[in-house]
Each structure stands twice: as C-alpha cells, then as structure tokens.
Amino acid sequence: MREAGRLVVEPWMTHEHLDDQVMMINLETGAYFALERPAADCWTALTGGAGFDGIVAEVVTHFDVPQAQAETDVETFLDSLVEEGIVRWSTDGPTDAAPNGVVPDQRLAYRAPQIEKHDDLEELLLLDPIHDVGPEGWPAVG
C-alpha cells in the first residue's frame, strides 16, 4: 500500500547498520531480521524520514532498475515491514529529499529488496555440531 506519510519504526524494534547490512531485532518476539542492499538502502532512507517516493528514488539512483519496477518492489517491501510489525505508517509528512542523494558513477546490479527473517526458535531445531561431528568426537584424544 502506498501512503502519503512516512513510516516510523515501532518502539519494540532495535536496529543497527553495519557495512552494507542492517540488523534488526523485534525485542518482544525475539525475531531478528537482516537487510542487505538494496533493502538496507531503503531502510536508511526510511529511517531518515523519506516517504514512498523518496525511498524509490534512493533505489533508482543507486541500482540498475526501471522506475516502475522499483515502485512495485518497494511497495511490496514496505508492506512486508508493516506486516512483520517492524514499522507503521504515520501521517507525518516525509522529508523532501532522499537522505543519500549522492549519485554514483555506475548503478549497481539490482535485486528486489527483501527481508531475511529468523526466529529464535530456529536454534532448537539445529543439530549440535560437536556431538554430531563423528564417532571420534572433537577434539581427538591424543
């Protein structure tokens, strides 16, 4: 859904940018999310106050993607952020410009922005690597 306002991050979310990735944690559910480019660029624009058009502009500026496809993909991405309880639409107006207006020399290869979601129950389903390493165990007895 494309709305005229801007998106605000829910208070139970904590998030941090590291290199080209954004890591986000829902402190109440224990779910955590990773965003890679261009989703991380969308997040940077979003938290900088950009509205829908500003976020799309950020993507189109930095990635090799037609405007129409970027609009469709960003809409899907923002809908998923809302559905996961990460952000909500506010009636506050967006900032005028995308936060990162630097135009690169060459646009980057594009893939649709998406959320990588993990649940803290996942680990319960994982095998224990030490105890499944083999009959010799680890480390070997000398």
Binding site: L18, G30, E122, I130, A140
Partner: protein, 360 residues
C-alpha cells in the same frame, strides 16, 4: 494482515508497580535475614541483597571470584543494587501485576518492557519476576520459592539484570567464553554446541588464564583500550568433551561444572573468534565479513537472559566494529587449537587472512 498488538500499561502504573515491588522486598526483610554481597563487576560496584537463603547459597560459587569482602565494601553508592526474595521463606508475595495476559510474551518477555527505563521478564508458572529500573540502578528478582529458580541460573546469577545494566553503562555483555595469555584476551563466541567452552577449556589446560565460559562484559571505552571483564567464574563441559580433555565428567556422568584454575578478573580484549568444528586435524583461522560476525552473535544474545534489551545491539555492533574477528576452524589436535588462539591474540592470525575479505 498485521496482527493486533494490545497496548502495554501506562508508565505511571508501571512506576507504581516498581515502587510496590520494592516495598514487598523490604517487607520480606522483616521476615527473613538479609545476606548482602558486594561484587566488583567491570570496575563497578554491585550489591546483591538476598532474602532467599537457598538461592543465596546456590548463587555463591558463580560470583565468588568477583566478590569483595563484606568488611571492605567499595566506597560510594553501588552502580547496581539487586534484591532477591522468595515467598516460601519470607511469606511475602508480589503485588498485583500491571500486565494483562496478552502482555506476557514468549520466553518470559513482557510487552513494553524489553527496552526503556523499566525492563522485565516474568515466568508465569513459577511467579519468577525480574524487574529492572535503569533510572535507579535497581534489579528485583522474586520467585514463589527457591525451587522455582531454574538450576541453570546457578552458573550465571542475575544474568538478565547484569546484561541490561551493562548496556545502560555503554558496556556490552557478550555471550562468549574468554581466555587470555599475557598478551591479552580472546573472546570465543558462538551458538550452543559451537565449541566455545571446549576451546576455552583446552586453552586453560594449556596454561591460559580463564575469564569466563559463557558471558563476559566488554568495555570498549576503557582508558587503556578495550577490556574484557569476567562476570561468572564457572565453566560447564559436556561429559564427552570432558572425557576428551582428560577430565572426569560431573556427578552421575553428567556435565562437568567447575571453577577453572587460573581465573583473572579482566584482560585487554584483542580478538573475537567464532569457532566451527571441522573434523580436520589442523586448526586455522580465516577472515569473516563483519556482517557475518554480527549475525552469529545476535541469535545467542537474544536467547540468553532477557534478550537484547535497550541498546545491546548497538553495543554489540561496536564490539564487532572494534575487535578483529575471525572464524576459528577447529581441528582435532588440541595443541593446534591452543597455538591458533595464541596466534590470534598476538595478531599473528592476520597472516592467514585474505585482506580482500570485508572486515579483515
């Protein structure tokens, strides 16, 4: 479709609950003698007041190495005060909770209290409450009885409080083992079963100093550079790991819980290692993108204690930005493990790193 999220109680109701819980703790002191312990954690003073004698006994060993004698308590007010009582021995219960059922979440989290000034976890079945007020530097723990306090917490008492408080002090509580040479310390982090405890104990048996098995505090802003501080002094080894290291398993053949020799309270933080068991003979280190390091650290930290409250993610990310990090590809030869960890502390691990890898 987005799920309906019921609101958390208003702040004034929560503040009243904190005040009434503190009153209940004080009232418990009229029925049950107080045992007071003074701890020194990350160069800060922490006072624990027990009005639950059984929990006090159970929690003694894990913090003995950071305990300051009662005859010489540190000057000035404590940075953190923890009160602990149970209803069975004191006869004093909790005041009415301010939360509706829908506010009580998975893994004892409480809606509206994973961040902010007042943080809480509540285990309904055992009436086990951890209530933390960052403004007062206060943690209150209540259980219906000492039996309601899970045995696994004996190895890491008040971990939830200490994690929240550390974050409020711009420190990072890391879910990691830590060992040191005279050149500095290696944090060994990873998920359950990744090999961190076994790696740490392998190094300790080779003469390294022991800082912690499961949780430590990193102070990136220490005057002389990043420091790692011990919090808990006990180590746990699964029976098969104990056997392979030439140690006897614990009672009834279970996990070996021990206070490793050569414990030190702090050391200069040099390197962060993420172990992976390979099954190959030799041990190697390899560079890791910093983003992968953070992805490895986050799930373990969510799972432990009350999760990543407050600014814990930001502090953890600072650690990843600051310390060199490597994957430790564990071989089967313990001597090789020791050599690789020592080299990583010395900075020699860089020789094995592909400089083109991000974060190297």
């Amino acid at each position: 479709m987005r799920q309906y999220i019921p609101p958390a109680p208003p702040p004034e109701l929560v503040d009243e609950f904190v005040a009434r819980t503190l009153e209940a703790f004080e009232e418990a002191g009229a029925h049950q003698p107080t045992e007071e312990r003074h701890l020194r954690i990350a160069d800060r003073s922490v006072v624990v007041r027990f009005r639950s004698p059984e929990v006090a006994d159970r929690y003694r060993a894990a913090t003995a190495h950071v305990e300051v004698g009662a005859d010489a308590p540190p000057p000035g007010p404590p940075a953190l005060t923890i009160g602990c009582w149970d209803t069975a021995t004191s006869g004093v219960g909790l005041p009415p909770l301010p939360w509706i059922q829908d506010n009580l979440l998975h893994r004892d989290r409480v809606r509206g209290h994973t961040t902010g000034d007042v943080r809480a976890t509540y285990q309904q079945s055992e009436g086990l409450l951890h209530l933390y007020d960052g403004r007062r530097g206060l943690g209150l723990m209540h259980a219906t009885s000492a039996a309601a306090v899970q045995p696994w917490t004996d190895r890491a008492p008040f971990r939830t409080f200490i994690g929240w408080w550390a974050t409020d002090c711009s420190l990072s509580m890391m879910h990691s083992s830590c060992v040191a040479t005279d050149r500095g310390a290696a944090l060994i982090a990873g998920g359950s079963g990744s090999g961190k405890s076994t790696t740490a104990m392998t190094c300790v048996l080779a003469g390294f100093a022991f800082l912690c098995d499961d949780a430590c505090i990193v102070d990136l802003d220490a005057p002389g550079g990043p420091m790692v501080h011990a919090v808990y002094g006990r180590s746990k080894l699964e029976p098969d790991a104990a056997h392979r290291l030439g140690l006897s398993p614990g009672p009834d053949g279970g996990a070996l819980i021990t206070e490793p020799p050569g414990a030190v309270a702090h050391a200069a933080a040099r390197v962060l290692l993420l172990p992976t068991v390979t099954g190959r003979p030799e041990t190697r280190v390899e560079a890791l993108p910093r983003t992968e390091v953070l992805r490895t650290l986050v799930p373990g930290s969510i799972r432990e204690g009350g999760g990543l409250g407050g600014r814990a993610l930001q502090e953890m990310t600072r650690v990843v930005r600051t310390l060199p990090s490597y994957r430790l590809l564990l071989g089967t030869d313990p001597a090789g493990v020791v050599e690789a960890v020592a080299a990583a502390i010395d900075g020699a691990a860089v020789a094995n790193v592909d400089p083109s890898v991000e974060g190297a």
